[in-house]
């Protein structure tokens, strides 16, 4: 047997993330002990109607979340226990709701930092309703092999090491969450393990005192001895002593209290637990508690270090008198392992997984992104700028300062081209229709293609073709293009001509000349221009063509080149969208007179045949 929690305990968890985390720990315990999962529902209004995903072995259970406790207990009438993980400012209301729910007969309050007045009011309500409310600041309750409420018991490996998957003969009551695991470990090492362990919480006024649980342990035939771990302050230990000596008790009581150091420390010093405070007039010291427990007939080891041997002695005595029969342990190999996460298995080198795809340029698995292996912050600290990042991510090369300067100027020259071109116009149209930034810019980017800004890649491709196959025969190249392709991409402009040159092209050409860069493709394209302009003076090398040649001469792959136009023009498109928003641009509808309505005039609709 056990007290408070057993295999029939069914739990509703009240509260958000911390509650779900505890519910996951509870699932681990159920899995280890071959028990069905004991959490029926969550109460967490912000997520009401959803389900929480709880790993159970290699399965995932979906546990429903409700807005109100009553909905949870109506839908899951087997629920008999509530765990309160609600924040300190609302924990009182939540716990009261749980106490007042007729299906719930045990409530454990995990919340820390609950005001004392709230705790004291809850003591009153629990008494009035005749129910047990454990906590606040409780680590939980664990009945070995039967039920875990909360995170008590710690990680999976500790559950196994402390043999919590099967009952023993010792009850444990502690105020400290950390020590509850320690005592269960001791009891499993020096004796046969625990029946039930209760963490009552370290607050000044725990709702339920030691005596409530001692009474229950006394009635549980499987519990032969109880270890209580107390501390200075309050009078829970004294009350336990009074209870123990009141009449002959079946259970052996082992008691220990901390705080002897108080005699050597500054007066009034506050310890880790709120409850561990000095009594107003000397009562509640560790020494007084220990003496009182001893006087009541409890076994009190002189120090914490002696607790283990003391437990062993009690266990051996109980065995010798036949009150405890040896428990058969389950060999470690027969205990289920918690399935490992795929990341753990991979890092242990136990499996190979075929990757979905491959990347060769960036990696953000560490503390910051690496661009082709270079940490972004190092690049910044060493004075590199955005042009170098473009070089790394598009061409996997750290470009030189000269090359970086060319890239920078190309981006500046191509950043915008006024509102009337297809890309900017589409962005403006979308902005005026109330579409968001990314969608509006995407609308503009969609316009980039063979007729708008998209000649860069093709220009590069054909000028390089010419340079390779017709190095000294430009008429031959032009003849090939005319026969096989059509107009030469990168040559020709609607308004610019020899007499009216494109300033942007002039600047770009000057840049590469001034920097004395080697530009074979650009040189070839200019030789082509020299021929085409003799035929018609607007068949000049346009800005797309010039960019294309310069960029392939810098070594950028052809397929990346439209990217320079996309990247640069995005700057302008964002500007146009922002501009329309700021100016409250109104919805655009095309004027009728800008459309030639070449449709049949209005006529009668014939009857259906």
């Amino acid at each position: 047997m056990s007290i408070i929690a057993d295999e029939n305990t069914r739990v509703v968890v009240m509260g958000g993330v911390a509650g779900v985390n505890a519910a996951k720990r509870m699932a681990e315990f159920c899995y280890l002990s071959h028990l069905p999962y004991n959490v029926t529902a969550f109460v967490y209004p912000p997520d009401a109607g959803k389900t929480a995903e709880i790993p159970f072995g290699s399965q995932f259970l979906a546990v429903p979340i409700y807005a109100k406790l009553k909905e949870a207990t109506d839908n899951h009438p087997e629920t008999n226990t509530a765990l309160v993980y609600i924040g300190a400012n609302r924990a009182y209301q939540g716990s009261l709701e749980a106490l007042e729910n007729e299906k719930i007969n045990f409530v454990s309050m995990i919340t820390e930092g609950v005001p004392e007045k709230d705790a004291k009011l809850l003591i009153k309500h629990a008494k009035r309703l005749g129910k047990v409310l454990n906590g606040p600041s409780s680590i939980g309750v664990l009945s070995a092999g039967k039920c875990r409420l909360g995170v008590i018991g710690g990680e999976y490996n500790n559950l196994k090491l402390s043999k919590l998957y099967r009952p023993g003969s010792f009850g444990v009551i502690t105020k400290s969450g950390g020590l509850s695991n320690e005592i269960m470990w001791l009891v499993s090492q020096f004796a046969d393990g625990v029946t039930t362990t209760i963490g009552v919480g370290g607050d000044a006024y725990p709702v339920t005192d030691f005596v409530t649980y001692l009474d229950l342990f006394e009635k549980d035939p499987d519990t032969k001895a109880v270890v209580i771990v107390g501390e200075m302050g309050g009078n829970l230990e004294e009350a336990a002593a009074v209870w123990y000596e009141a009449k002959p008790r079946r259970i052996k009581l082992i008691g220990i209290a901390s705080g002897f150091c108080q005699e050597h420390l500054p007066k009034g010093m506050k310890f880790g637990h709120a409850g561990a405070k000095e009594g107003m007039h000397g009562e509640g010291s560790a020494r007084a508690k220990s003496e009182r427990l001893k006087k009541a007939g409890a076994i009190v080891p002189p120090t914490f270090g002696d607790l283990g041997p003391t437990i062993r002695k009690v266990y051996e005595d109980l065995k010798a008198t036949g009150q405890i029969k040896a428990v058969k342990d389950i060999p470690a190999a027969e205990l289920p392992e918690l399935p490992r996460k795929v990341e753990e298995v991979i890092s242990a080198g136990d499996v190979v997984v075929q990757p979905l795809f491959k990347t060769t340029i960036s990696d953000d698995r560490g503390d910051e992104p690496l661009y082709c292996g270079y940490p972004a912050s190092d690049l910044i600290e060493k004075g590199y700028d955005i042009t170098h990042i473009i070089g790394l991510l598009w061409n996997k090369k750290l470009v030189s300062d000269k090359e970086a300067e060319v890239i920078k100027r190309i981006l500046m020259l191509a950043a915008d081209h006024g509102p009337c071109v297809s890309g900017a116009f589409a962005t403006i149209l979308a902005a005026c229709a109330g579409i968001g930034l990314s969608q509006s810019v995407a609308a503009g980017l969609i316009m980039i293609g063979p007729r708008f800004g998209g000649a860069v890649t093709d220009a590069a491709k054909y000028f390089r073709f010419g340079l390779r196959n017709y190095p000294n025969d430009i008429p031959g190249f032009l003849a090939h293009m005319k026969k096989e392709v059509g107009p030469v991409p990168g040559i020709g402009h609607r308004v610019k001509s020899l007499k009216n040159p494109d300033k942007r092209v002039e600047v770009l050409k000057k840049t590469v000349r001034d920097l004395a860069l080697r530009t074979p493709t650009l040189d070839y394209a200019l030789a082509v221009e020299a021929i085409t302009t003799t035929k018609k003076d607007n068949l000049i090398l346009n800005v797309d063509g010039c960019m294309a040649c310069v960029l392939v001469d810098l070594g950028f792959p052809e397929e990346s080149l439209n990217g320079f136009f996309i990247l640069a023009r995005t700057i302008g498109m964002i500007g146009h969208w922002t501009d329309q928003k700021r100016e409250g641009g109104k919805l655009i509808r095309l004027y009728n007179y800008l459309v030639n309505f070449a449709v049949p005039r209005r006529k009668e609709v014939p009857d259906r045949k």
């Binding site: 930092g113 710690g154 950390g178 050597h264 880790g272």
Partner: protein
Amino acid sequence: MAKVLEGPGMELFNKWGIRTPRHVVISTADQIDSLVHSNQWMRESKMVVKAHEALGGRFKLGLVKVDLDINQVKSAAKEMLGRDVQGLAISQVIISEMIPHNEEYYLAVKSVREGAEILMAKFGGVEVEANWEKVKRTFVEVGEKPGQEQLEKLAKEAGFTGEHVEKMRKFAERLFECYDNEDGSYMEINPLAINPADGKLCALDAVILLDGDARFRHPDWNFSFASEFGRAYTDNERTIMEIDSRIKGSVKLIEIPGGAVALLPAGGGASVFYSDAVIAMGGTLANYAEYSGDPPAWAVEALTDKVCSLPGIKHIIVGGAIANFTDVKATFTGIIAGFRKAKNDGKLKGVKIWVRRGGPNEAVGLEYMRKLADEGFDIHVYDRYTPLTDIAKYALQGEGK
């Protein structure tokens, strides 16, 4: 529990209709001149000057001066401000109106498990401690208020007669209201006296302990809490308190001058057993400290730094039980970073470090600690198979494996 100094304590009293002497709190003597200008009572009354710090035994230390005129107030304030007491400088003094009185009374409200007790005595000052059994008390259940007859009975039992019974009843009602509405843990007025100027009861002192956990429902608590152990907090303690207030989990530190064993244990329960173990072995504690609730590594690192900086320490005890959910590896990473920093800063010379812990990621965390030996740390690492507090024994008896 959290202590409130006299100045803000009296403001809380005033809020609930409890009379207190007129008073001002100053941090430089220069403030007095402008205060005299706007406070007529400072020109007309005799005054009391007290160091406004959480110090025990202020009277004996010469930090309380009574029956002063304004010039004496100025020189007393000048003398007290900045004075070094137990290694701490006095930063504020409170100047209050001197209330001449013949009789002193005692009134207090104290939190108990089922509610509160109201304590009353027809004597005050040092006589209260000496005659504790003569102090009368009455119980009020949580969620209830004291009844009129109940308080009258208490006042009569305490020895009050005539109109004093009614005065004490009303005053006790107000103190209880203050206690109840302000989430008090303990409120004490000693002495309570009749002000001859108006014949009304006046609280000449205010000992107020509030429930710090209830801060969320008191947006008007604009004061910071004072220490409860007879001295002001040190800078290091304040730093750790400030970190504690803004992290998940907790870090705690109290310094104890002159100790040789520094504590850096995990958990509010285990840390006290470690303190006990050090004392039981005849050691002296250099501090009380504790971290728990899976605090972030940087917070544990900050705590480690303060612990390593304690003067004259010979041992550091990094103890802990088997954690439920505090990640041993993560918190140890913080401690290790703190150790490395301390060593680089020339600290930890001749200091032995003793480690015992269990919990999530215990194997990795303990291994990281063990590896510190390669960096020249004098470190001794034990796992869950070593009983919890045995490292205190090893440290003080040199019984290490």
